[in-house]
Symmetry: C2
């Protein structure tokens, strides 16, 4: 299965601006991408990074398309036939097993919802389905699938459901990650803090200067 | 399989105090509990509600224990033999399929982590394992299992992973719920709002008075 991984190396993860500098956000985003690429390879699938700018990734195929996410994905889809997965690049908890579960249901469209109604992963086996990641894309993609007569299934996965967009998501990487993104955060001084109700992430360097 | 469902009907869901009154929090907590009970029954398991106070639940067995969560669960565990599940009462997305997945792994201890490092569901098949829900209980429970020589598995489930503690969690019920908790929220005026990056929940009645 071909797995498309959209990636924006220019200004990634702006909502992490409160806890990471622009350079750090780029490095962390690339660490997450590399975790996703590792999981795809372990699932015996073929990754293709759909990037808004040139990027060097040790032999992984890269297609550059400067357009926003949805038109760029749909342009690639129109050029291809056969099944396609689309996996977001900010899923550092993803494992080959989670990818296998995305491929398991026999439905035309399989969706792994993200926290807050996004679409973190898609398996597309219908020729007429197009993506639209704007807004509540999980519900929209279900509607879009039905509109073209495609059957839909949802994958119940925490590892596919946690995309790292906001500072509160960092704790999940520290808790459940074991790859480059987790290592990058620990190198940058992030640690678990279980003082409050839910565990949170604190940055030791911040604490020391506070 | 016997499924223990701890529930505190006295002052439930205090962290939802910013969006729900005390009476509303009690009603919403009970709606979530009833969703969990429905899923347990659909999974052909036997629910037992471990409540801090008397509560009437249409024929469901209730054991009253006023102690905090962990000592109350461990006291019950000490009186029983054989496998036991412990499922939190604030998991309104849980389905019988998700419960089946909790029971699938052959490990002595199976854990479904919640957002922020909690333990939302446990399958316990080892006689010496005891629970401790304080702090980062997901990691602590893994350690506790290993300390008594029990094998551990983790269930990768979004539906078991989303516990409703904070206002931001309400959106997941509106997106993925289909039971009493979802209906209760809609009756109370909650709707999806996809203006921002992630979809959020707004309360129409609040908007109108704002």
């Amino acid at each position: 299965m071909r797995v498309l991984i959209p990636f924006d190396p220019r200004k990634p993860k702006t909502r992490l601006g409160g806890v990471l500098s622009a350079d750090e956000r780029r490095a962390f985003a690339e660490a997450m991408l590399r975790d996703v690429l590792g999981a795809v390879r372990n699932a015996d699938a073929t990754p293709l990074v759909l990037s808004t700018a040139e990027i060097e990734l040790d032999g992984v195929s890269v297609r550059v398309d400067e357009r926003p996410l949805s038109p760029a994905v749909n342009a690639y889809r129109r050029e291809t036939t056969g099944p396609l997965c689309v996996l977001l690049a900010d899923l550092p908890l993803v494992t080959c097993k989670a990818i296998d579960r995305l491929l398991e249901p026999a439905a035309d469209i399989v969706i792994a919802p993200g926290l807050g109604g996004g679409t973190n992963a898609l398996a597309i086996r219908h020729p007429d389905f197009r993506v639209d990641y704007h807004g509540s894309s999980y519900l929209d993609h279900r509607d879009a699938a039905r509109a073209v007569g495609a059957s839909v299934a949802t994958v119940d996965s925490f590892r596919l459901g946690v995309d790292v967009d906001e500072p509160a998501d960092i704790v999940e990487v520290l808790l459940h990650g074991s790859g480059r993104a987790d290592a990058w955060l620990r190198d940058a001084g992030f640690r678990l803090d279980s003082q409050s109700g839910r565990v949170t992430a604190v940055r030791i360097s911040d604490e020391m200067t506070a």
